[in-house]
Amino acid sequence: MIARIQAWWRMAFGRAGAEREMREEMAEHLARATERLMARGLSREDAKRAARREFGNVGVIQEESRDARGGQWIETTIRDFRFAARGLRRTPVFTAVVILSLALGIGANTAVFGIIYSLMLERLPIDVTFLRTDDIPVLVHYFIDMYNTEFRKRIKGVAPDTMKRLQGYGWPGNIRELRNAIERAMLLAEGDQLTDADFPLAGARVRLSDDMQLPPHGVELDHLERSLVVQALERSGWNQTRAATLLGLNRDQIRYRIEKFKLERAAAHEEVR
């Protein structure tokens, strides 16, 4: 293990040393082979030549040894970078043009994506149209069918509570936001029904009361109040006490509102007490 680490260390940092050692080792081999042949009576020159022949092609062997020693890629990569840098420095105009076009390309790309993103993906800053609360279930089911096909899923629908929440949410980003929310939910969904957990966006919004949701375009509270009082009176046949109960008010409060809105019992509604 330690030997392995040492070898690795040498491989990574001791390149020059390892190279020198290899040359020295092989030179030593040749020297000793030469001596041995000289001892047999060959001349120095002949012995040297014979030793070399016996050893083989030194360059090739060193190359193979380098490969065997490993870690060549470090050296090769560095050399490639140096070579590239030299080449670029030699042709400054070409280099400038390349860098410039890359910069422009990246810049243009970013800019265009920025525009596309804000136009098509993000919610629009102005609300052009509104989703009607009643339309939302229809649209939700339409998108679920669509993404069922696209994602090969079998989502059956939306949990009732969640649907209410979706209807209560104003969808300032309009149908696109609704579609994106459904798409995301479909991808996240694990069961066969979409639940609150699948709609992080809608869930994070402030919720209105569960049974009455503020329409996306808001209401005129005065007008709404008048309308509710009228409805309550009509349903109760102008029995003020019963109408007050329907609205959670007492008789004085409903009387005050009848005066405030100047309500009068229409002739058509006259009934026998």
């Binding site: 293990m1 030997a3 392995r4 040492q6 070898a7 491989m11 050692e21 290899m22 020295e24 080792e25 092989m26 030593e28 081999h29 000793r32 082979a33 016996e54 050893f55 083989g56 092609n57 090739v60 062997i61 193979e64 040894s65 490969d67 065997a68 020693r69 490993g70």
Partner: protein, 110 residues
């Protein structure tokens, strides 16, 4: 030197080198001589395969090298086995004897 070398089975050289270094740590040159002598000149290992083999074994951590002075005061890189090299050699020997035994058994059949 008679270069009448039967082509070595791959991996055999590594095993032989380990075996010789297990007997005695030595340098590349003496290793090549010893290999030749012990095999009665049947195996001639040229430097072209010996040195890459040594470096390969060193990289795998099976042998380690250090520089030492030889008797005639020359520097030589002396290789010796590491613990894992010893283990590897034992495994290799076992595999080899199984293999050689199997071949011999097949050759004996008439």
């Amino acid at each position: 030197v008679t270069p009448k070398t039967p082509s070595m089975l791959s991996g055999t050289l590594d095993m032989l080198v380990l075996q010789l270094l297990a007997a005695e740590p030595t340098n590349g040159y003496d290793l090549s001589l010893r290999l030749q002598t012990i095999s009665r000149d049947v195996l001639t290992v040229n430097a072209g395969s010996l040195y890459p083999a040594l470096y390969r074994l060193e990289r795998r951590g099976l042998i380690k090298a250090r520089w030492a002075e030889t008797e005639n005061s020359r520097r030589a890189k002396v290789y010796s086995l590491t613990a894992s090299g010893r283990q590897h050699l034992a495994d290799q020997r076992e595999t080899w004897s199984k293999f050689a035994g199997a071949i011999a058994a097949v050759l004996r059949t008439t």
